[in-house]
């Protein structure tokens, strides 16, 4: 299908200033989209308040508004520019939320602006927890077990049915989840559940099974208007569930799935993007796998280009944002040439002969007093990616790229600072310090895996403390063994 000729001008919403959780990945995706749309001859109207992105350079759009990205301001831009379409999926959560607000206020309808890429209903379905879960259950995908309760007795029944701790308790209609928590045993459960019921204005709590420690995967999916779907990249998180993906070390492609399991995840990803109804463009879909049983749960989907899309683009050479923009204006995947081969079409699934590792960069030293434990809200300020022919090579290169002064996992002769203590590079750290640093996810945990191996911990010991997959741990162990071998040679 050729590009749409009924559209002349397209409004692109950027992502505004760089913040933790929304950084230069949307500079990249927005700029790609501007270029792609102009290449196709569309008039591009851009709104973005960030002066530092190349997107707001005059030559990237026909009209550039450096204005606050708020529904009111964007509404006035729409009134003035009268674009035919709004592309909300390439400017991160800010753009998505702004577009949804404009939709709800009736601005888009009033000025006859079509939302392209993803329709409002799809965004709603993808973003709303309950709507998403209902949709996934409808198509037969597995979601976390849960149940609602209004009394402690009801809560006990739900807990018994789920059958194991930890359990997550979420009170209904409280701000920021006040009164909820994670219960690791019956005593804690009763306490938190009762508290939650009391806290909730409707005296209702949701009791949900916890996926802490499960393996986490991501799939980058693209879909065109003819319903052709492809997976651009699979990603496996080094850090198990419980750490925000943005704060996790992630690896592409997935390393520990058999083909049977991978294909089931692929099918589930397509089923998800179709059910949610993202018509064209990219989505990021996250799964969780229980290591001992293989049970696979769909966690969430981002009905837009995301941080992982930038990583997947650079990891595979498939320019997700650029292709997403072209799909949004009606092209199909087989009509767009593949950027790498130039001879074959974009309707393929990249296959790579290398490993890509992304490591988040933290800056806790600049924020004294901030809790440096990694949780489900993102704390990293950036990331470094590296490519290698083995996971070991890419991990070492990524660590070196972080610019935290290390050449890799260690063995570079530089000291280690742990709180007030300073240790030599080859010192063996105390076991209790190591255990503590392994148990709670934190920015330096990867280095403490090295310390742990050097202190005589086994892969199994470290797995029990971290739930990091044994395959990853074994690879880290090999780097440490190599360090030992080299150190022995020097003597």
């Amino acid at each position: 299908m050729p590009k749409r000729t009924d559209l002349k001008s397209i409004l692109l919403v950027g992502s505004g200033p760089i913040i933790i959780g929304q950084a230069c990945e949307f500079d990249y995706s927005g700029t790609q989209a501007c270029k792609a749309l102009r290449e196709e001859g569309y008039k591009v109207i851009l709104v973005n308040s960030n002066p530092a992105t190349i997107m707001t350079d005059p030559e990237f759009a026909d009209r550039t508004y450096i204005e606050p990205i708020t529904p009111d301001v964007v509404a006035r831009i729409i009134e003035r520019e009268r674009p035919d379409a709004l592309l909300p999926t390439l400017g991160g959560q800010t753009a998505l939320n702004t577009a949804m607000a404009l939709h709800r206020k009736g601005v888009l309808k009033k000025f006859n602006v079509e939302m392209i890429g993803a329709k409002a209903e799809a965004i709603e379905k993808g973003e709303d927890r309950q709507l998403f879960k209902d949709a996934m259950l409808k198509i037969g995908l597995d979601c976390p077990m849960s149940g609602t309760a209004h009394t402690l007795d009801e809560a006990r029944v739900v807990a018994q049915k789920i059958g194991r701790y930890p359990l997550i308790i979420r009170p209904a209609y409280t701000l920021g989840g006040t009164g909820g928590g994670i219960a690791y045993n019956r005593e804690e459960f009763e306490q938190i559940a009762q508290g939650g019921i009391d806290f909730s204005p409707v005296h209702e709590i949701l009791v949900e099974e916890s996926l802490l420690g499960w393996k986490e995967y991501e799939m980058e999916v693209m879909r065109d208007c003819k319903d052709n779907c492809v997976i651009i990249c699979s990603i496996e998180n080094f850090d198990p569930m419980g750490v925000h993906t943005g704060d996790s070390i992630t690896v592409a492609p997935a390393q520990t799935l058999t083909d049977k399991e991978y294909q089931i995840m692929r099918d589930a990803s397509f089923a998800c993007i179709r059910e949610i109804g993202v018509e064209t463009g990219g989505s990021n879909i996250q799964f969780s796998v229980e290591p001992d049983t293989g049970r696979m749960i769909i966690i969430e989907m981002n009905p837009r280009v995301s941080r992982s899309s930038a990583l997947a683009s650079k990891a595979t050479g498939f320019p997700i944002a650029k292709i997403a923009a072209k799909l949004a204006v009606g092209y199909t995947l087989d009509e767009i040439p593949n950027d790498i081969t130039r001879e074959t079409p974009a309707s393929f699934e990249p296959t790579i002969d290398y490993v890509v590792t992304k490591i988040p960069r933290f800056a806790f030293e600049k924020f004294p007093g901030v809790d440096s434990t990694l949780t489900t809200s993102m704390k990293s300020v950036g990331e470094a990616m590296a490519i290698g022919r083995t996971f070991k090579e890419s991990l070492q290169k990524a660590l070196r790229s972080l610019e935290v002064g290390r050449s890799g996992l260690g063995g570079d002769g530089k000291p280690w600072r742990v709180g007030a203590e300073v240790y030599g590079d080859r010192d063996v750290l105390p076991r209790d310090v190591i255990t503590q640093k392994l148990t709670t996810p934190n920015a330096e945990r990867i280095f403490f895996i090295r310390h742990a191996f050097r202190a005589g911990f086994s892969v199994e010991d470290i797995f029990q403390l971290t739930k990091i997959d044994r395959w990853f741990l074994s690879n880290v162990e090999e780097i440490v063994l190599c360090e030992e071998e080299l150190a022995a040679l020097r003597l």
Binding site: Y262, S347, R454
Partner: protein, 424 residues
Amino acid sequence: MRKPCRLAPHRINFVTRRASSFIRRGVTAILALEDGTVFHGAGFGAQGSVLGEVCFNTSMTGYQEILTDPSYKGQIVTMTYPLIGNYGINALDVESTRPHVSGFVIRELSRVVSSWRSEKSLDQYLRENNIPGIQGIDTRALTKHLRSRGAMKGILTTESISDKEAVERANKWHGLIGVDYVKEVTCRSEYDWDPEDSDSRRWRIPGTSNSVGGAPHSDGVDNGKGAETYRWSLPPVRHRIVAYDFGIKHNILRRLRQNGFKVKVVPATTPSETVLKMNPEGIFLSNGPGDPSALDYAAKSVKGLIGKKPIFGICLGHQILGLALGGKTFKLKFGHRGGNQPVKDLSTGKISITSQNHGFAVDAKSLPKDVEQTKINLNDQTCEGFRHRELPVFCVQYHPEASPGPHDANDLFAEFAKLIEGKR
């Protein structure tokens, strides 16, 4: 301090053979190609020497399915994805009763296996099946070489022979062209596939009932232990067909059964008269190894079946149909082997990402006028499927049964059922 440990073999630079303290720690192995290219690496799996056509597969997952695919008979398979063995070997993910590759070439063998389904390591599996492997070589350089020069005769050996001798032995091998490998992998006598319906049910990940307060979402199955819960149920049998075994993958048979077919499998040499006497509702032509032009007997049998029964062919079956209809086949330079080949359906425009494994192809231009090309490969425009305009015959070059690979083309089995129903 922990005691000094053995260094993993792949850390070692095996490209040169200079004396190093590392080198004595693993079994050394040689991969030599007919054009004189030699790679030195570490051996794994069995020890010994094997000859074969050196080819590469770009799938990032599915090494167990690839090893057990009979179509790889006579080939030394290189995986382009560097990290292999990560999830071990399990009893379910097999495509036949044993591995068929001659040798296996990888960049790095995982030291550990990480999978809830794993039963043994890849190393152990290859040792048990007497297949040698080589790791620690630059598989990217090898792949690039094969891409520019084409698939080549080669030797994989753990014997301590000179490079020169290895190259000589690779050159002396007869190669694949004109050789009938089907006779080595086809069944000895006819049999009924899975009469107890124990191996055909589609594997699934164990699910759970989701909403504790409400109805379970999946088919009521809990995450209890035991293989029973990992399988979908089967539909009733609707059609009885005969499948020619040129080296059939089990997942084709499973998929056929999952689509309501009861399958009798017959040896590749079965004459058409014998099959017609069985009076099946349809005939399936399987995948298989090697050069289709070496299989005159198969093309002859198929000729005797065209127009008499509905026919569906996959891979080698597609090539044999091409030959039986009067077309020609040719050898591709380096073949299509992997799980990401884009195929376009010429009538609907729909693209499927497909699993492929073939070194030969049907020349679409050589097909007679009453045959219509239905599908093409978007990478090189080669023929991926055709059908007869009047007779109930259709086939595809790729693998709709996947395993390994994507499930995009799964509905072709249902299409076969429709074809049969239309003719009843």
